[in-house]
Amino acid sequence: MRLLAAMSGGVDSAVAAARAVDAGHEVTGVHLALSPAPASLRQGARGCCTLEDARDARRAADVLGIPFYVWDFHERFADDVVDDFVSEYAAGRTPNPCLRCNEKIKFAAVLDRAVALGFDAVVTGHHARLSDGVLRRSVDSGKDQSYVLAVLTPEQLALAVFPLGESTKADVRREASTRGLAVADKPDSHDVCFIADGDTRGFLARRLGERPGDLVDAESGAVVGRHGGAFGFTVGQRRGLRIGHPAVDGKPRYVLSISPATSIVTVGPAPMLDVTAVHAGPPVWTNGAPVLPFEGTAQLRAHGAVSGARAHLVRGRLVVELQEAQRGIAPGQAVVLYAGDRVVGSATIESTG
């Protein structure tokens, strides 16, 4: 097959490309330029969009002896991922930009272009297993990325290849080192790649301006503090609330909900965070619709806990009841349904109960 390997400059995508080459495919490496003005050097472990990362990717492609190009997707990324990220926060929701990037960029815009240019599929270094159209968790549960791939449709998955799902991250690093890939010891990237300094709140404040409002205690109804913008908060957040005086019950307060219209951030004690049901949007089934109601497990955050779940549709939208209460579940995140380690589908959370 003619495969397009998306190479971020990290160890995973380099080894994924290497395995595709070993498997006898005709592989072309591509690095996605996602930032309009990439920094020349990486700062810490953030991001995958610096010139240094592009160089690392190019170097890995050279070692593998495959052609390598940089594809400029920064405009699409700005529209579909960054703007979406900002407007989701502005609307009081908590987006997952990696998931959005997979949905709109890597397995949509990039895939479209790859197919149009004659490639049969796109290879990435995601830690997940995919065979016969069935998407499953990686064997490395600590590194499993099936959650951020659960937005993909069968059509998208049919054109994707994930060569790393049967390996642990440690195996991948060892293999990179054996193969002479210099990225073997490169730190994992985490956080939001387009916020170079890691200051999400500052980034949002620059994009949205200050929008001051009240912190209101859910139990007493009292105004317990002020804030510079509701977008700076996520459901379940405890730190940085700057509540002037302790609550009457002396218990710590957490963000329970965010109302961008009124700029009110509601806080309350931990038990009020408990969520036993989520109402989500229309689901995407990764391999066709399951029998409904569906009984299995649900994961509501990347690397979050898993709960027994029962899901059904109400007027085309997904409703999931959870066996164990979950905390810190925010609208905007995805609820992903699993049958064992198999990804069944996902939907975006609209409200919780």
């Binding site: 072309t28 010139l51 699409r76 272009r113 197919v115 059509e155």
Partner: protein, 420 residues
């Protein structure tokens, strides 16, 4: 099939041999002992060879580390000297289609040295008209520090009326620099006859080594150094002279200039066949730049090896990748930033749309090019353009929204850009 000779071209065997001989020897040309004297002799003979080949005096040859350095030295150095002699002189007049080695100097001088840049427009063929230069100077003749216009454009191949432009500048006693990197060894370049005050040339575009170049600088042209140190080159350029590179450069310049007219005629023939063949196979492909059917100062109006074509509805990057996969190595001709090719400032200056600028490729023939190279390109170009056109601008850009929400594979192939 290497069709990117404007980016760099293979060294001439004689140049390789001349360098190899020098690599085996020791001797700093500035040293006073015998080994130094021997190196000095090689350097000076090389200087004389180059001077003779390009119609300059040996004292006008300043060895540098290549085209970029020569451009930097000429533009910054002459600007500084002219400004220091008269503080009103802060204006630099340059064409809109210069190489980045000149353009970025101008930008830097603007930011850090208070320079004012007047950009000369070009016509649809990429040519600068002497009347435009005159008009630009006339705005305020006393504040012009220098004029810089390239001899021939590296992207679209259009040759400029350098002699005439230099004459206009000289009417106002303004020094004139030309970046002749693409011209030397291809067009009849005579430093003295052209009347220019400073001229950039580089080794690796004419069969010499990379990292070796020359700034021809008129004897009476003041130029402040960029590199300070031992003052080896007329106190204008410092750094131990690279004897092997200089020896190779001299052999290459002499060789390229020596067989220039026969080679240029042969390349122009190949190039015309290439353009004709491509347009036959891709009828809407259009040649950018001067057609090259006229004469200017004894040479053609277009670089003989240059074929720069736009392929409507295609993206240059996609064409380049598809051709690369079929063994054709070419370029979009324009600069990259972070590996991402930018729409060519040259085509934009010529009035092309961003889409046309992005949908272009440069095929550049050089001394080793043959009929077989062109034939191979013609074999693959039609299906490649067809494929790139169907891909259109798929995905990358805002104007071509092609996000497919859960569509089927069949729909996908229609995504983005004009479908056919």
């Amino acid at each position: 099939m290497y069709l990117d000779h404007a980016a760099t071209t293979p060294m001439l065997p004689a140049a390789i041999q001349a360098m190899a001989e020098q690599f085996a020897r020791v001797g700093n040309p500035s040293s006073l002992h015998a080994a130094g004297r021997e190196s000095r002799r090689v350097v000076e003979e090389s200087r004389e060879t180059i001077a003779a080949a390009v119609g300059a005096g040996p004292n006008e040859v300043i060895f540098t580390g290549g085209g970029t350095e020569s451009d930097n030295l000429a533009v910054k150095g002459i600007y500084w000297s002219r400004r220091d002699a008269d503080l009103r002189r802060r204006r630099i007049i340059a064409s809109a289609v210069e190489h980045h080695a000149v353009l970025d100097c101008l930008e830097w001088l603007g930011k850090h040295e208070d320079a004012d840049v007047t950009c000369l427009p070009v016509d649809a063929l990429g040519r600068i008209h002497p009347a435009e230069l005159r008009a630009a100077i006339e705005e305020a003749p006393e504040d012009v520090a220098l004029v810089s216009v390239m001899w021939a454009n590296n992207e679209v191949g259009t040759v400029q009326p350098i002699r005439e432009l230099a004459a206009v500048a000289h009417e106002y006693d303004i020094p004139f620099h030309t970046d002749a990197v693409q011209a030397v060894g291809v067009l009849p370049v005579d430093f003295t006859a052209s009347g220019v005050d400073a001229l950039t040339l580089t080794g690796h575009k004419l069969g010499g080594p990379v990292g070796a170049g020359v700034l021809l600088l008129g004897r009476d042209v003041a130029c402040t150094p960029v590199l300070h140190g031992g003052g080896q080159e007329r106190d204008v350029r410092s750094g131990t002279l690279d004897t092997p590179a200089i020896a190779g450069l001299a052999v290459a310049v002499a060789g390229a200039v020596g067989d220039r007219s026969a080679r240029s005629a042969r390349l122009a023939g190949l190039r015309d066949g290439l353009v004709r063949g491509v347009v036959q196979r891709v009828p809407d492909a259009v040649l950018n730049g001067d057609p090259g059917d006229q004469y200017l100062d004894g040479g053609p109006t277009r670089l003989p090896g240059n074929a720069h074509l736009s392929f409507p509805g295609c993206e240059g990057d996609a064409l380049l990748m598809l051709l690369d996969a079929r063994g054709v190595e070419c370029s979009t001709g324009s600069a990259c930033s972070a590996g991402v090719s930018q729409p060519s400032h040259v085509l934009l200056a010529m009035g092309a749309s961003v889409d046309r600028a992005r949908g272009s490729l440069r095929f550049a023939l050089g001394h080793p090019s043959t009929d077989a190279d062109v034939a191979h390109l013609l074999d693959v170009i039609a299906p490649v353009v067809d494929r790139a056109r169907r891909a259109g601008m798929a995905g990358t850009r805002r104007e071509s929204v092609s996000v497919r929400e859960h569509t089927t594979g069949a729909d996908r192939s229609e995504a983005g850009g004009p479908a056919r």
